[in-house]
């Protein structure tokens, strides 16, 4: 897919900004605090119905304004053009997502329609941060390639909340009877998610091996391993997972009463990254972390490209500045080979030799406006 244009109204520091994007590479150049990341964030709203880092819609609303709007034309790989619009009204606290002037009833149904891969400084937590950060990463990849997974995740979260409510209300007293149907729901949906995550990680492994070897010459072997909430004996078939979840739920019964929360399920999964057999988390250098992350994201791109009906767009926020010259050169050559990309940067040194035309555009961003556009 390609984002042909976008109009941002009252979005962060963009009062009214219009972009006509290049079909291939789009460089957003500007000094600190000018509105480059904000532009990527707006594109994230178009693809995912939300920001890739702000937690609430109110945060991105321009201070002092009551509504924001992002409007855009998106072209699919088949050439079909869609008008996509996100509008947020702060007084009603209501967000609307519209495709060709038809309101979308469930935002979750949009996920995967406009596939996107985002690489931003926030993503550092994928390799540095907690298991939750890694789960969030794989969940978004799987969600964009499987509608059923999005539904299962939505329902699983609801089941967790229902079950946790029983555990907190019980205040340590026995509530086994009330838990019974919710145990069964937790196991059923939890098993589906674990099953899917495991399949995904197996499919994903060759992609990451490939992209990593593109960036790094030395023989560094990256590995992703799945450490689900339960030890499953035998293969990770749905039946085996269900059995393991049931056993562990039984074992953790008293602990759950004591801690008043659900201790078993895919919300406790871990995903382990390693390089040459050494845990990334404990042994890798800053540069190795970054390289691993970049390889993950490039792998995400190729994975989604094969599974979604459309080629993803790639948003890169401040990426090149953090890599050494050789690796950023390698990354640049990868980026050149992808579909439509959006790159923010404070220096266009990297793009010095580039020709600017309808495929590659450079936008100079200043105080929430496009100060200059280089197209030819």
């Amino acid at each position: 897919m390609k984002i042909l244009n976008a109009r941002l109204s009252n979005f962060r520091n963009h009062a009214e900004t219009e972009f006509n994007f290049g079909s291939h590479m789009n460089v957003l150049l500007g000094e600190n605090g000018m509105g480059k990341t904000n532009t990527l964030e707006a594109l994230s709203f178009l693809c995912l119905t939300k920001s890739f880092y702000a937690s609430t819609d109110g945060t991105v609303l321009q201070r002092g304004k009551t509504f924001f709007e992002i409007e855009s034309t998106i072209q699919s790989d088949t050439g079909k053009e869609l008008r996509v619009r996100v509008a947020y009204d702060d007084q009603q606290k209501k967000k609307k997502f519209t495709i060709n002037s038809a309101d979308t009833e469930k935002f979750s149904s949009v996920i995967g329609m406009f596939p996107v891969v985002i690489l931003s400084p926030e993503n550092n937590s994928i390799t540095f941060g907690s298991p939750a950060d890694r789960r969030k990463f794989i969940d978004l990849v799987i969600s964009q390639s499987s509608t059923a997974y999005v539904e299962d995740m939505v329902e699983y979260r609801r089941i967790l909340r229902q079950r946790n409510k029983i555990l907190t209300e019980a205040r340590g007293k026995d509530c086994a009877a009330d838990l019974l149907p919710w145990n069964e729901m937790l196991v059923k949906y939890g098993a589906r998610i674990i099953h899917k995550r495991n399949m995904f990680l197996q499919e994903f492994a060759p992609y990451i091996a490939q992209t990593y070897s593109h960036i790094v010459d030395e023989r560094e072997t990256p590995k992703i391993e799945y450490a689900p909430t339960v030890k499953v004996s035998g293969d990770l078939s749905l039946e085996n997972i269900i059995a393991a979840l049931e056993t562990k739920l039984q074992k953790k019964k008293n602990d759950e009463l004591r801690f008043q929360t659900t201790l078993v399920g895919p919300h406790r999964d871990e995903i382990i990254f390693s390089l040459n057999g050494m845990l990334l988390k404990h042994y890798a250098s800053q540069g190795q972390h970054k390289t691993f992350l970049v390889a993950l994201k490039a792998a995400e791109f190729f994975y989604l490209k094969e599974r979604c009906s459309d080629t993803p767009v790639f948003l890169l926020d401040d990426v090149f500045s953090e890599l050494d010259e050789q690796r950023s050169g390698k990354l640049f050559s990868i980026v050149e080979s992808l579909g439509q990309t959006f790159i923010t940067t404070t220096s266009d040194k990297m793009f010095g030799g580039a020709e600017w035309n309808s495929h590659r555009r450079k936008f100079i961003i200043r105080n929430g406006t496009v100060a200059q556009e280089a197209t030819a």
Binding site: K106, E151, V154, E155, R158, I159, R161, Q162, R163, K165, I166, E169, A177, D178, L180, P181, W182, E184, M185
Partner: protein
């Protein structure tokens, strides 16, 4: 406050209490009432009070009714061996509209949802069990295709097992997260036809 008439203000307050009516709509409705002929307003207010005075719950199936037992429970034309379990009276209307079902109903009064403070004791579950007879041939669980409906289906399935009565649930042909009440007739008909054993 804003209003020059206390009566209008009170009416706006009342309208605004109704589900899915915001303040703006409440104001518009109140202004509309002001313009209605007096007889119409009187008929309207009588209809409101009549609902409260005349409508009660059927003591057998807990559907809403004016005569107890309700017209479905007392009908000789219905197949008394099949009971269709639903969450709300509106769901009875939805299933009736399909003209595909000729048995009896049982209205639970909701679905299990700890977040909303609904546990098994809050539903008409005991009452369902006490309705089961030797000639009860099938129980159809037609609950909403969402997390709460599914948990309730599991719960009832377990509870009904010892009775050795054929228990089925409607097929999940309905879009996830939707209410039975909002399913169109064709979809609901398909779901009823494709019901699966628990």
């Amino acid at each position: 406050m804003l209003y020059t008439s206390e009566s209008i203000e009170r009416l706006v307050e009342q309208f605004a209490q109704l589900p899915s009516i915001g303040r703006k709509t409440a104001q518009r409705l109140a202004m509309h009432v002001l313009k209605m002929p007096r007889e119409e307003v009187a008929a309207f207010s009588k209809a409101l009070v009549d609902v409260k005075d005349n409508v009660r719950y059927c003591t057998i199936c807990f559907n809403i009714t004016e005569s107890d037992p309700c017209s479905i429970c007392s009908s000789q034309k219905r197949n008394r061996a099949i009971i269709c379990v639903v969450e709300e009276p509106n769901d009875v209307i939805a299933v009736e509209k399909t003209h595909e079902f000729n048995g009896l109903y049982h209205v639970l009064g909701g679905a299990l949802s700890p977040l909303d403070g609904v546990s098994p004791e809050d539903l008409k579950v005991k009452e369902l069990l006490s309705r089961l007879q030797d000639d009860t041939a099938e129980i159809i669980l037609a609950l909403s295709p969402n997390v709460e409906g599914e948990a309730t289906t599991l719960y009832l399935g377990k509870l009904l097992k010892p009775f050795n009565i054929k228990t089925t649930r409607i097929a999940r042909g309905l879009p996830i997260g939707s209410d039975l009440e909002f399913a169109d007739e064709a979809t609901l008909t398909r779901a009823l036809e494709g019901r699966v054993a628990l």
